[in-house]
Amino acid sequence: MKVFQSAILIAVVGILYSVNYLLEDMVNPYVIRVIVNCGIGMILAMSLNLVNGCAGQFSLGHAGFMAVGAYTSATLTTVLALSPFFKTDVGVGCAIVTGGVAAALAGYLVGLPSLRLKGDYLAIVTLGFGEIIRIIFLNIEDVGGARGLPGIPPRANFFWVYLWVVITFMALLRLLRSSYGRAILSVRENEIAAESMGVDISKYKIVAFVVSSFFAGIAGGLFAHFQSFIDPNSFVFNKSVEAVIMVVMGGMGSLSGAIFGGIIVTLLPELLRVFEQYRMVIFPLILIILMLVRPMGLFGHKEIWELFKKKASS
């Protein structure tokens, strides 16, 4: 089994690497840009899905953790850049992981007090923390303040982003299928029932929040090293809302749904470019209609493959 899995892993890496080469040769940069942005969107959506969909805690500050990841990794590769190592692929990879860890730490610090709250209050507190994180970066002159941080080595290409998509997907799938995942889901279903069954709900909320922040930080790091420029305006409240829309569209609690949502929400504005100025109106309209017509999101709690399974059996 172990051998089989490592074989698959190597195969995935190989495929991604060759697709990367093919893309760079054959497709124009705009398409590559959209595809990579889709990947970053997927990571963001999957990570937020863990908190909003699986643990049932409504967080509206995801852009803040993305900012922590982006700024930490970008600082390591530009402002600090202790050695040329930090300009190489591996160095940037390390920086991005460090960014993820920093975001996880921020998630822990934010989550510890705020997860005592529920529902709308939690939403508004996480929103507040998200904004505070952004304002803090806005006020640190060493990372550019309002002018932003330019000159980040653009090392995150299709290969690295989609490698992280695969890693995020596998990690979260495994987490959800473990005893931790079951406990997290039980918190969503009924907190009081879960608590009376001996589930330490605060612990599992924090676990979900920290893991989610980690991957949001990774998404931020990739974003920074793909765009090669970040400023506090990249992580405004609307970015958090975008992440929420991704999760809601795909279905709260569905990992594959989050991937789907990540793709749709990134692609839709590009596809609606024909309507240029109306796209940002059509977008929220779709969200409202979705809530009225299909409140569970497109796939609900189910994964995409489970939908097909059900069809086959019935």
């Binding site: 409504f58 007090p113 705020s114 005592r116 709250l117 529902g119 709308d120 209050y121 939403a123 508004i124 507190v125 929103l127 507040g128 923390f129 904004e131 505070i132 304002i135 803090i136 806005l138 006020n139 009081i192 409240f237 609307n238 809302v241 929420v244 809601v248 709260m252 100025q277 109306y278 940002m280 109106v281 977008f283 929220p284 309209l285 969200l287 409202i288 809530m291 009225l292 409140p295």
Partner: protein
């Protein structure tokens, strides 16, 4: 030193009473329906723009500045009520009884929709809100600035809050509203037409937002389609600070927030202006989640 301190209090009061008016809209809807009406901030924005256009059309016809201002305030209030009720009817009413998360997401959707619609209709560039009444300084010497606009803002807010207090405390409608916010199901069983009461709640909340938007336009004559977002968030913080569902709380919360902001800008830095509101929010939620005047309800199984 003392002079700067007093000046900050004056600025804070003027700013805070606008927050308080907007906060009342949040707190009333939250009290009745238990959800954050994110679209409220954009109703505020639409109110400001309706005031902008009303001023354009009405100023040739009405010469008396006082009459002009009152008619613009009333017009903007009416417009906001129309928008608020439309939103309630189309987006919120079908979701009554749905999970709270869905209502919250719908509210965010409505908010984004109105914001972006505003950007298409009014353009993304800021517009200059016309000066309806000429600015006159009321205090001479001493370096203190208190002008008639600041005084108008505070006075109009006080009058509106007084009217609201009277409605909620001393009319049949107010009693029904309090009953609905206490327990919507039981109120329904007691024969209170809850849907009508909810409509009235939205009417009052939206009209206050309309009035607040004109007062805002008078004191900060730069309006843009995204203007509602920050003010809305801060007004919500004010509502939570005072205890959500409490009318006195929203008023006090708004004033406190206005003061805190004006002191932050003066003594720390203007870039932290937006952070202080959220800082206050986090502190209050951690130490007194029900807010200053709120009552904490324990969840029952």
């Amino acid at each position: 030193m003392l002079q700067a301190f007093l000046q900050n209090i004056i600025n804070g009061l003027a700013q805070g009473s606008v927050y308080a008016l907007v906060a009342l809209g949040y707190t009333m809807v939250y009290g009745v329906l238990q959800f954050i009406n994110f679209a409220h901030s954009d109703i505020f924005m639409l109110g400001a723009f309706s005031g902008y256009y009303l001023a354009k059309w009405l100023s040739p016809a009405i010469q008396n500045p006082m009459l002009l201002m009152v008619s613009i305030i009333l017009g903007s209030m009416a417009f906001c009520v129309a928008v608020g009720l439309t939103v309630e009817r189309i987006a919120y009413r079908p979701l009554r009884g749905a999970p709270r998360l869905n209502v919250l997401i719908t509210a965010i959707g409505v908010s984004l929709f109105l914001e972006n619609l505003g950007q298409i209709i009014f353009g993304a560039d800021p517009q200059v809100f016309p000066a309806l009444i000429p600015t006159r300084s009321l205090l001479e010497g001493d370096g203190l600035v208190l002008n008639n606009i600041q005084l108008t803002v505070v006075l109009v807010s006080l009058i509106l809050m007084g009217v609201l207090h009277w409605i909620v405390r001393h009319t049949k409608l107010g009693i029904a509203m309090r009953a609905v916010s206490f327990d919507i199901e039981v109120a329904n069983l007691m024969g209170i037409p809850t849907d009508t009461i909810i409509i009235f709640t939205f009417t009052i909340g939206s009209s206050l937002a309309g009035a607040a938007s004109i007062l805002y336009g008078l004191s900060y004559p730069k309006i843009e389609p995204l203007l509602g977002m920050m003010i809305g968030l801060k007004a919500f913080v004010a509502a939570v600070f005072g205890g959500i569902g409490s009318i006195l709380g929203a008023a006090v919360g708004g004033i406190v927030l206005g003061l805190a902001e004006s002191f932050t800008v003066y003594y720390i830095s203007s870039t932290f202006r937006d952070a202080i509101a959220f800082g206050i929010l986090i502190l209050i939620l951690l130490f007194r989640p029900a807010g200053l005047f709120g009552t904490f309800r324990r969840e029952k199984v």
